[in-house]
């Protein structure tokens, strides 16, 4: 509501000024820039998420159905450009892949929360830049999360409760009952009541359609009572009566998607697109994003006022932060340097030890070698002595022999001579 400042009085106009065209000027500018809308579909594999998107937006978006064998939960995101009359919409659809398929589902919600936070983070980064271009920034923050509930007919699964509890403060959640043609009318009412009571008792805050604007208060109010919407999706067209309608054909009858008596698809489309799209975008920006921003900045230690409740000036805060950070860096550097020096010392000591050992070994071996050498020399000497002794004996023996043989030899010689004669 427009606040009246002090000293501001309402002045009557004497004629037509023309600023009532201001909303038109604003809208025309937005139209030329185009709108963007980001939907996140969370639900188990096979609940009909892609089919519902196709049905909602009357097109066939590409993509193959996922298998049940995914090792973890992942998110698949696609962006499409849609145009209707003169309005261009950049639609991004993000789907979970493999949600609810694992045996241990404790961490299933984590990739989803991280993804949503990452989009907020990207926007926050852009907003904090010095040179920023916010008015042409492609907003990737998730505006609405459609949570697909399996049509068991009993109650919510614990995985559903846990996931929705984690997401309700980060994104607008609209729970829907998928494949609603599996439940009969009476079971459906009981199911819806059970779900709503479980959500309330667990403190899960789902998105409430706004009722403050008189023109839409009534319709939004009634729709709030129909949550969660029971939907059926189908892209097949069948001839019913004399019209082509989207429907699913069974042996026992045909379920028409756009028949309000059969399912709540029309209500979902009405609420999501035709009545509250702008409100969803606004809530994302003013509530969920602001909450994220506040938490993130507080986490980093920024405060709005110091303990003496004097407001910090921008410059002081950032300067203080910067100095603090530089101080931390310096401290870290010192620590690292010290650690490094210590390690070097240790290594040096080790190496010295090793060197000493080597020296000792060398000395030892040298000594060994010398001993060996000495032994060998002794042996050699003794051998030489023996050889000498032997030589002496040999020469002595030869001498004796030669003396003996000389005497005998001369006789032999004489005999030889006599023989010859």
């Amino acid at each position: 509501m427009l606040r009246r400042g002090e000293g501001c009085r309402t002045v009557p106009l004497a004629g037509h000024v023309g600023f009532d065209s201001l909303p038109d000027q604003l809208v025309n500018k937005s139209v030329s820039q185009g709108f963007c809308f980001n939907i996140l579909c969370v639900g188990e594999t096979g609940l009909g998420k892609s089919t519902l998107m196709d049905t909602l937006f009357n097109t066939k978006f590409e993509g193959e159905p996922a298998t049940h064998t995914q090792p973890g939960v992942q998110l698949r995101s696609n962006t499409y450009d849609l145009q209707e009359s003169n309005v261009g919409l950049k639609l991004t659809i993000v789907s979970t892949v493999g949600f609810g398929d694992q045996i241990n589902k404790e961490d299933s919600y984590k990739p989803i929360v991280e993804f949503i936070d990452a989009q907020f983070e990207a926007y926050l980064q852009e907003e904090l830049k010095i040179r920023r271009v916010l008015h042409t920034y492609h907003d990737s923050r998730i505006h609405v999360c459609l949570y697909f509930i399996a049509p068991t007919g009993h109650s919510l699964k614990s995985l559903d409760l846990v996931t929705m509890k984690k997401l309700d403060s980060k994104v607008n959640i609209i729970p829907i009952i998928a494949k609603a043609d599996a439940i009969s009318k009476s079971e459906l009412t009981k199911f819806k009541i059970k779900i709503t009571s479980e959500l309330v008792s667990n403190g899960v805050q789902i998105y409430q359609f706004p009722t403050d604007d008189e023109s839409v208060a009534e319709i939004n109010g009634t729709m709030n009572a129909h949550l969660p919407f029971a939907v059926i999706g189908s892209t097949e067209e069948l001839k019913i009566g004399n019209k082509m309608m989207r429907a699913r054909q069974y042996p026992w009858g045909t379920v028409q998607v756009e028949n309000e008596a059969h399912c709540d698809f029309v209500k979902l489309r009405e609420m999501l697109i035709r009545v509250n799209m702008e409100d969803l975008r606004e809530q994302t920006h003013t509530r969920h994003y602001e909450l994220y921003r506040r938490c993130k900045l507080e986490e980093m230690g920024f405060k709005d006022t110091d303990p003496d409740s004097k407001p910090f000036s921008l410059q002081e805060t950032y300067e203080a932060k910067r100095n603090e950070f530089l101080g931390e860096l310096q401290k870290k550097e010192e620590e690292m340097r010290q650690m490094f020096v210590q390690r070097v010392k240790e290594k040096e000591a080790e190496l010295k030890e090793a060197e000493k050992e080597l020296h000792e070994k060398f000395d030892r071996l040298k000594k060994l070698h010398q001993d060996e050498k000495k032994k060998l020399e002794d042996k050699k000497k003794s051998l030489d002595d023996e050889v000498n002794a032997f030589k002496q004996r040999k020469t002595a023996a030869e001498l004796l022999q030669s003396q003996g043989s000389q005497a005998g030899g001369s006789q032999t010689l004489k005999r030889d001579k006599e023989k010859k004669k």
Binding site: F19, V31, Y80, D81, I130
Partner: protein, 345 residues
């Protein structure tokens, strides 16, 4: 009372044959209802508009503002003392009003600058004005960097500055040039030739041409600035305004007279009645249509997206001595991952 520019209305949300860029639409979805949703929302929240009038005293600033908004919104109307002395220095007086038309509520603030150009020595008399404009940017910046922010930050930034040129018939005064040179970089300036009923048609067009030439020679970019034209359509439209109509030669009046059986705003002289809203007499209607009926939102956007961002960038740059373009908290926050979304294998 010929109105030159028809009031713009968006095309009705009738489902035409759906065109598509990437996908084939098989039927009507309802995306175009967002126009209505947006309009309802903006009408509920209301608008702010801050207009500043600068010029020597006696040029008819207050009267013109009253004529523009068809109500007594100027400082003379809301202060007790009707015969104020000319102040010794330039003062800045901001007065706020709430006006409503067709379900649209607007908080209009008129910022008057009595004392501008009235002293003997007028050196640096634009400085208090520049200071005031920067103070408003500073206020907005402070609110924006708060951790717990208000849902709607009150916008006191000056969206438009009407500079009144004295109808000498010769050329611009050095004071005019100095002022516009300094301030065209921080705010949208729309030069206006005041008291245009003192010039004949030929004198008027010659004077306008000379003024345009002088502004160009001195490198003064007045609103709509050439560099901010977004597409060809804007460019041709704005070129026409820049080269032919501006600066608007206006006459202001808040008195009504009877002419040809109709009540019109005008000035009565012995030689005739000057009709304010008659395009043959003066260009008031053009100025009014330009500022209010077609470019009001654009004035606000240029102020927010360009002038304010320039101020913010300068302010944050002087602050940490960090190189421009790098995130202000880039040293503290962890680096953002390159792809914002993990894709399934």
């Amino acid at each position: 009372m010929s109105e030159l520019v028809p009031e713009p209305r968006p095309k009705p949300a009738v489902p035409m044959k759906p065109m598509s860029i990437n996908s084939n639409l098989l039927g009507y979805i309802g995306i175009d209802t967002i126009i209505e949703q947006m309009r309802k929302k903006t009408m509920k929240t209301g608008f702010d508009f801050n207009i500043m009038v600068v010029g020597q005293s006696g040029l008819g600033k207050s009267t013109l503002v009253n004529t523009l908004f068809k109500s007594q919104v100027s400082r003379k109307a809301s202060s007790w003392n009707r015969e104020e002395k000319i102040p010794k220095t330039v003062e800045i007086k901001a007065i706020g009003h709430v006006i409503e038309e067709g379900g649209v509520k607007m908080k209009l603030t008129v910022i008057d600058t009595p004392g501008f150009g009235d002293q003997i020595n007028n050196e640096n008399c634009w400085e208090p004005i520049e200071k005031y404009i920067n103070e408003q940017y500073e206020k907005f910046l402070k609110e924006e960097v708060n951790i717990a922010r208000k849902k709607r930050i009150p916008d006191t930034r000056v969206h438009c500055c009407l500079y009144f040129i004295s109808p000498t018939g010769h050329s611009l005064r050095p004071l005019d040039l100095e002022f516009m040179k300094h301030l065209s970089k921080v705010v949208n300036i729309i030069p206006v030739i005041a008291k245009a009923d003192t010039m004949t048609l030929e004198e008027k067009s010659e004077f306008k041409q000379r003024v345009r030439k002088e502004l160009e020679v001195n490198g003064i970019e007045f609103y709509p600035q050439k560099e901010f034209d977004e597409d060809l359509e804007d460019k041709t439209e704005n070129d026409k305004i820049r080269q032919e109509s501006m600066p608007f030669a206006v006459v202001g009046s808040d008195k009504e007279y009877q002419v040809n059986g109709k009540r019109v705003l005008g000035r009565k002289t012995p030689w005739g009645i000057i009709e304010v809203e008659n395009l043959n007499h003066c260009e008031f209607a053009l100025l009014r249509d330009f500022v209010i009926r077609t470019h009001l939102q654009d004035l606000k956007e240029v102020t927010h997206n360009i002038h304010y961002e320039t101020y913010r960038a300068k302010r944050l740059n002087d602050n940490g001595g960090l190189p421009p373009g790098e995130g202000l908290l880039g040293t503290v926050l962890p680096p953002v991952p390159a792809t914002p979304c993990p894709t399934a294998e």
